[in-house]
Symmetry: D2
Subunit: 259 residues, 4 copies
């Protein structure tokens, strides 16, 4: 069964700013969609959703039918409804994969899942970025031709990147202007996985670069839930009777639970 | 300089339920306070705060003057104001230590910092718990007389405990009724540390047990920020000019940032 | 392409001890082989190798042709040649998966890869073990019918298990006699992955239990290198010239490297 | 009680190569000793030991009396006796702290504790290094004046650095020539801690730089065992009788353990 991918994007810069429209005339989401299709091929079915659709294109049905959600946002994080952000986070904990791109570091669902502020340093100077592989053998690096992805012009993101220590660190970036950044990170939350991947400033054509597209497609595969795994239990059940015998059974005072 | 500790507790069970009042007549917070003072001695100055005080006893000034906050809550998590919960989480990211006890697994600040639902299984059956040390040499185990703390009667908490993989796992519990639990866990969030420690159901006298008190006091010491460390940066600054020279300086289109 | 699996086993207990021969008349390795074939089906090609074959059945060619090696040993760890143990460890760092079973915690290749002593507590009392899933959604849990595998009679292994903190903790065991154990752990070493799974004392029929077999087959799949990933670099090259320009080029005093 | 520190160094470059003798006329070890004394003051008692002393200056008595060992080696890793390397690794597992510096990445005790090959890339080009703090609030960063230590001329070390994922990542380096490196890492092994810190090529005066000395002194403090912690158990005991009752007691066939 193919992985059902929903590519979510703000899709506002492209409509408002000529500099962005020139780079992504049909929207960042459609370029990401084509990249995932190019490099994950028959393994995926990809649709898109954007901020200004009803429910941001993320109805309960869409979320239920999504195995992996990718997220690009920048200028309008605040316009994402809290209720939708909570639903996305909840769906991840229940097993949906999430791929967060670039300025999505400040997206509401990402912050909800991290528990940190997700701050960083930044600079728009069209400088060179080198993304070094620090985890050879990792599925997210499949098909890369070398241990370094070079992007000639990108926005800089610098440490300290305010995230929980990643469960897996896959790329570290070098920037021409002197900074470094943990630019490929994976975390588990509940039964779901989150992959953050740094490149993709809206004024640069990073999402047309084959190796960037390949990593995103690999990331989609990696965070997709595999097989019929042991399910996440979304609740805190009272386990009585116990599976093993207990000597001193306590008579619970039910009044304690009438809050 | 001593560690300034604030012991926070709901302090409602003790006033409403006779079964709890019998065990903790002056409130759980005061027993925790005495335990921390007993085992951390001159290293700490401890005060208390409770839910029904103004601002839950956690004014901006109190938070600013607190190096380590301990948290016990159970029946009234929902009554903690979201604003205060956010302030506590923010203060942790800025370096305050947090020790979360027992049913505090569902406390708002803990959930905000974890990014998960923090679900678990439970059973009130006065059963035996054994907390095994899985990290010998860890400062939180200082002074323990053996590698196992035995509590004759406790509430059971069982896996799956829905938390991010802990940065450090220190105790794993065995329960008479057949379950296990990761009962001593540490995470870093921003510049602050969080220690979760399982024991402490309100109807059992666990907080009078010397080894439990000792671990809580050790936990307070461990999550306290030590020395004049490199500070947390609470923001995302634009770094211009760069610290190293950049060949192709990009002229930023300022209109992109007028949202 | 199928995963090429080599199932390695000491195969001495079965020949020397009637109690073991009764449980595993054709050897533990053949029962493991059939379990992996049963639950990983067409995805694997499985062969076996044992201690008393030439080179312990692990010639350079066999190792080169192995994607995943599983290891069971107990009474004769010391008879494994250091040279072979080093080759196995090296092959793991270069990308081979390794599944270490039960008393393999003391196997030479496992200790070489862990860097610890791998001590534990033990007791042979035919007691009940419950392996609880602490990582729902993990591929190694695929197909399990519940969040607990119950084994009626096993040897006990107890904490502290002297291993590096696992990169992933998947199972924690409860034992009837009062102990707990981190019984399903994954680590990365170089480009390879190691999965340790606890059950399998030679006098108990644990490797006939469907859920145990299933987990081992899942583990084989999980540690198999997926796709054409970024390769491990087995060496420390001198990188001249640099990929980016350097202002002050240092003339290296070559005499420093004539040791 | 002060931390008893032993600063170990090869002390051969300084005697053989004029370029090194000019920078470290009394030996690297004495400069490290003075740095630790300068920044850890009354908290430490520091002695030195070198390769060409009997037992490399690391007799059983010296190791037993050492709380923290620091290690610098480069040209003569192979001359360190395997027996001594094993003793050092064993002492770490039993609780001694270890601070490994620069080319010590290939030191025998470090490799024994890591379980990996510890490969990296390198280049001697007197290029600029920037060590960025990625873990604000960490005790190892205490007293640093900014989030970046700048070294004007250093040897380059580049990724992939072949180490197990560190338990804590504290510094990441940027190099003028285009590489990055995880340059401050902590691991736990048994009851002991290991801190790897990158700077310190023998032809550059890095160990005179105040911020480098400060980090090393902080590292010494951090890996020192604190308080009377729960001890490491160096063995695998048979636990009979069990701490909890077992229904079906198995009569162990003792013949199985006569190997």
């Amino acid at each position: 069964m193919p992985i059902r991918v929903t590519v979510w994007s703000e899709y506002r810069h492209e409509l408002k700013h000529e500099a962005v429209a020139k780079v992504y005339p049909t929207g960042i989401h459609n370029v990401l969609k084509s990249g995932i299709e190019e490099f994950a091929g028959a393994e995926v079915i990809v649709r898109t959703a954007t901020l200004d659709e009803p429910d941001h294109g993320l109805s309960d049905q869409v979320l239920a039918d999504t195995d992996v959600l990718t997220w690009w946002g920048h200028m309008s994080h605040g316009d994402v409804k809290d209720e939708i952000a909570q639903k996305v986070a909840s769906r991840v904990r229940n097993g949906m994969g999430l791929v967060v791109l670039h300025s999505g570091h400040y997206a509401k669902p990402f912050k909800l899942l991290m528990g940190t502020n997700c701050h960083l340093k930044w600079r728009e100077a069209a400088e060179k970025e080198r993304l070094w592989v620090v985890s050879p053998g990792h599925p997210i690096t499949a098909g890369l031709s070398s241990d370094c992805i070079v992007i000639e012009h990108e926005e800089m993101y610098g440490e300290h990147f305010d995230i929980p220590d990643p469960d897996e660190l896959i790329f570290v970036s070098w920037f021409e202007g002197g900074e470094v950044f943990r630019s490929g990170c994976v975390w588990k939350r509940g039964a779901g996985k989150v992959f953050y991947f740094r490149p993709g400033h809206e004024t640069f054509p990073s999402y047309y670069i084959p190796e960037v597209r390949r990593v995103i497609a690999n990331g989609v595969r990696y965070v997709a839930m595999q097989g019929k795994v042991q399910a996440y239990r979304d609740g805190s059940p009272n386990i009585v009777p116990s599976v093993e015998p207990i000597k001193a059974i306590h008579v619970v005072d039910e009044s304690l639970h009438k809050h």
